[in-house]
């Protein structure tokens, strides 16, 4: 019955879908990347391998200060005591003996510590992502944030260099991370712009868009000429994520389906109607591709929001052959990091969910034989103030700026910190309020580290591995020329 229904959906939707598609291509460039003219020199260069970027957005602003922590007593750099002195009284410091040690060549071989929830946790189904550091499959980009151009503390304070607009505001900082520019509003995200440039050469016969969001509409995924697929997580099968219910093989039902499909090509003069129809059309086209030959993962995934999302990504990756996809970008999100209060419990739970899910995903990629082809990376609104907000059981922290981000995969040059040096000669900031890396000043300074590495540099490093040409860098990242390098070095060449 399911097969039959799918079959007829395919037939009727195909025939009508083409009419609709043709009309909309004309009007709005629907799937225009698919239809785009391929540059002649690129035509022969459809990649023979598969590569995917998986973005995990830690929404709300993850506290990097409690994610990657000094675990040494070297006095020349901020050490555990410096960390503890600022956070312990209010109850926000993590005990040194609980930290998961990581040795960092870039930090003169000193030991740092990961938040204990990134390792083995009670009730966990795997040993977390700390082990991936040890295996050299995980790198940390340190002190990354939104910037228009490199900026010293003096320049920040005297206003001689433009700051990203609306620092410390959730919505604006999320937009800037996702759009890849901090000097102006952008209609598109950097994932979307990569898709604009790469869909035609890389996925000439792709049956779904280059980008899939498992977490709704996101600026990151929006291109000028391409739109993302957005589907629900693994609790719905791929065959059902975009399947309109209630149609059967009767003549009446088929006539209704035909009309349902035809209506999308009509009355497009109103731009809101056209935009809504475009999204429905895209869903119906993708539904045909996702309906058959279901794929299931073999590694157990945790029952959490991010677990379900990454499991759905893993299914799609397994199905890449059916979908004729060579290059793919995914967006997942885990929310709740806006820990103004209750941070100890809140962040612990979220980091352990993240770690469990990402580890399951990595292991699944190993099983699928594509761990070297898939790179997972994190982003977040911003980090949080080094100085806690409140104290005791409800202690939290407020909005800040530069953060530490994870990059995970078989092609990552793991086991090290990356990024431009701060004033102390390393990529990890000096943990001193009103100190050399603090945007705040005076006696009330809260510890909001000024980034030394821009979101664009982080993203460009990932984009380069994905296949973005040098010539396309300034198109995808308009301000990349303001920074000394487009390659932070954490990906294998």
């Amino acid at each position: 019955m399911t097969q039959n229904r799918r079959e007829f959906l395919k037939k009727s939707s195909c025939a009508l879908g083409m009419v609709t598609l043709a009309t909309q291509v004309e009007h709005f460039g629907l799937m225009s990347a698919l239809a785009q003219k391929v540059d002649s020199q690129e035509e022969a260069n459809v990649p023979s391998d598969y590569r995917a970027l998986v973005c995990i957005f830690m929404a709300g602003g993850n506290d990097g200060n409690n994610t990657v922590i000094p675990n040494h007593n070297d006095a020349s750099l901020s050490n555990y005591s410096a960390y503890s002195a600022a956070r312990n009284t209010q109850g926000l410091a993590i005990a040194q003996n609980a930290l998961l040690p990581i040795n960092v060549p870039r930090m003169n071989g000193l030991t740092y510590g990961l938040n204990p929830n990134l390792g083995t946790v009670a009730g966990g189904i795997n040993s977390g992502i700390h082990e991936l550091w040890v295996q050299g499959k995980m790198a940390i980009a340190a002190n990354v944030g939104t910037l228009i151009r490199p900026m010293t503390r003096t320049q920040y304070q005297n206003g001689s260099i433009a700051k990203p607009f609306q620092l410390f505001s959730h919505s604006d900082q999320v937009s800037q991370y996702q759009s890849g520019r901090s000097d102006a509003f952008s209609f598109t995200g950097w994932g979307g712009r990569i898709s604009d440039r790469r869909t035609a050469p890389d996925n000439p016969n792709g049956l779904i868009p280059m980008i899939t969001s498992i977490n709704g509409a996101q600026l990151f995924t929006a291109g000028q000429s391409t739109l993302p697929l957005a589907i629900s997580d693994s609790r719905t099968t791929l065959a059902n994520v975009l399947n309109p219910q209630g149609f059967n093989t009767s003549a009446e039902s088929q006539a209704r389906l035909a009309a349902f499909n035809q209506l999308r090509a009509q009355d497009l003069s109103n731009n809101y109607v056209a935009a809504a129809s475009r999204i429905t059309e895209q869903a119906m086209v993708a539904n045909q591709a996702l309906g058959s030959n279901p794929m299931e993962v073999t590694v157990p995934f945790p029952n959490s929001g991010i677990g379900y999302q990454l499991k759905q990504v893993a299914r799609l990756i397994k199905k890449r052959g059916d979908l004729s996809i060579n290059r793919q970008i995914f967006y997942c999100q885990i929310g709740g990091f806006d820990t103004h209060n209750g941070q100890i419990n809140g962040q612990s739970s979220l980091l352990s969910q993240l770690s469990q899910a990402v580890r399951a995903f990595y292991d699944e990629m190993v099983v699928q034989g594509v761990s070297n082809n898939v790179t997972t990376f994190t982003m977040s609104d911003f980090s949080r103030t080094f100085n806690p907000a409140g104290s005791g059981a409800t202690v939290g922290s407020d909005h800040a700026w530069a953060n530490h981000l994870f990059v995970i995969g078989g092609s990552v040059l793991g086991g090290n910190f990356y990024g431009m040096n701060t004033s102390n000669g390393t990529p990890y900031p000096t943990l001193v309020m009103n100190g050399p890396d603090d945007a705040d000043s005076g006696t009330n300074a809260r510890g909001r580290w000024i980034p030394t590495t821009s979101v664009e540099q982080y993203a460009a490093t990932l984009g380069r591995w994905y296949g973005l040409a040098d010539a396309d860098m300034p198109i995808v990242f308009p301000n990349i020329g303001n920074f000394p390098t487009t390659n932070l070095g954490f990906m294998q060449p």
Partner: protein
Amino acid sequence: MNNRKSRWVWQILSANFLLFLLVFPILAQPDPNPDSPTPILISEPNSTRALALPDSKFLRGNVSRIESRAFLPDSKVVLYVTNLDLLADEGASAFRIYVEDAKGRKYRFPVLDIQPLKGQEWIYALTVRLKDELGFWEEPLADGDVLIGITWRGLASNRVRLGFGKTGGDIKDDAGAVPTPAPTSPIKKSINVEPNYVGYLYSGDRTRFMEQATFGPTSELDTRIRRVGLRTWLAEQFEAPYPTNPYPNLALMPINIDPNTCDAICRRDFYSMYPVQNWFFKEAFYGEAQLKHRVAWALSELWVISGVDTQQASWMIAYHQLLSKNAFGSYRDLMYDMTLNPGMGNYLDMVRSTRNNPNENYAREILQLFSIGLFMLNQDGTLQLDGSGKPIPTYDQNTVNNFTKVFTGWTFCNQACQNSAPGLVNYKDPLILNQNNHDVTAKTLLSYPGAVNQTIAAGQNGATELNQALDNIFYHPNVAPFVSRILIQQMVTSDPTPAFVGRVASVFNNNGSNVRGDMKAVVKAILLDPEARGNIKTDPNYGKLREPVQLATNVLRQFDVQSASGGAQSDGYINQIVAPMGQNAFNSPTVFNYYTPDYVIPGTALNGPEFGILTTGTTIARANFMNTMVFSRVPVSSFAPLGTSINLSEMQTLAAADTTGNRLVDTLNTRMMHGAMSAQMKSTILTAVQAVASTNTLLRAQTAIYLVATSSQYQVQR
């Protein structure tokens, strides 16, 4: 007009139609014809080329002698438009100029000025700068004709050709385009036959009005508005008792719930969002005070708190009571009540913010999201720009730090308030001040011309300071345009013209009696604005995507929403099939609401807030919602004591009465689409209806309703 009296009279009148005829005209507030004239762009006498000339040569005088030609990018050009009927203060900001090039790319050029011609006052000179202001595409190439059209009050003009750089090129005229030469005298308005009885006869506009002011049209409501008109109905709504279904009376949640005395069902019924959601939908289905329910809902998407943070129904109810209390009150009172609402205090951490351990969360969000926004606005809601063309921030981190100090020291009233109970956190009564935890240092707040309470002296009581600080915010010039624009977006259209925002903002600033923030006046100004009103709207950028909650209630109310088996009211349990469409009522994912007012639809430059939750996934969920409700129902279950269904008997009767299906589809057109269904759409639906045996009237009705309700043409309220 005495509203109380009007309602009293109405009650008597309903019982006595003859008396009604005699008395009612005296009490009724007249409603004008809602239709604005459709603007006409003037072309050359024998072609569709715009009558236009460079601004430098602009002479007020004989239009017919003007020669049209090509124009340079970025130059100023004067176009001519007729068939307008402008308000006294209506100018350039009421118009938009849309341009399409041969590649099909769309641009918007700024309108600089509009003036009537001397001696030919029925013709207006419209000055436009040939420079894109959207910035989605690079500037158009100056290589040939573009099509140019204007919009005004939700109406689109004809489109004419304009040589951009040079004339000629590949672009085709719109189908049916004809020359529109300058008229030698004013275009006569079509003569309205005066009705011989009072009433609001504009059926397209009635439907549109109900979509904007309520949770969806019903036949009963339509009849009532047809009789009494918009203004009288509004006056009545402002006084209507609310809610019709009493708020659930829920106890405060114990810190530890004893599983022996309160099982999972008990927790669902008393401490989760479930009773709030069911009450909310039931009130949306059946409440008499629809307008207040609708405005309170709009305010809940502005002053967001969320059950995601704390699943406690009692505090969500206490919060909603403040929204509805102030929905027709003062925005300043709303600011005060929301600030001291314990749910908000918990959600944005004000209850934990003390002198020694301040928390910035509420300070930042009340400025950014609830009152003034990030950038200085003009009174029409457009951005103020500095000398280098950049927007001007309204405040900086230092301002946030100072407001943070103002908001320190407040906490739950766990003793000595009406709802205080031993061992419970009081989420019902307003927060109280612990002066010992209040930061008494001096503060510097928002700076703006004529700023109220820009500085707060040291050593004051926290409650005094709170009011000083709220006044500092409330009198900021941004509040009127910021709040007005969001409410317009919630009720009428996603991308209102600056003129519309400006008209409403001026009412926000002063309701006519020197009162600022009078919500009743603001709501009335929004709903009666000429940009909101009219039988047909043709502006390609007019309207808004129905958010899932509105989509659900509009369709269900249209077809007499009832219990699963009919004969009784629904229990309101539908959130479980609304949430998959991307909107889980009272469980907004963040303080930024289910979607943000500034959301721009991917692949376009269009501002469409509700598109923030429309994806490939949720668009299919919308169709699946319709499938459930049109072909099935929400059955009775342990969650749904009565269930929910729609009543199709009237539609079946129409299907039976006309076997061609025309009456059925025509009725849906009138009731759901303002009578604006295109011939093509009607024909497509009729084909599907006719594929069903004419004897199967149920399936015919279901087929037609499913197709209308799932269409983008319907899902966009316009």
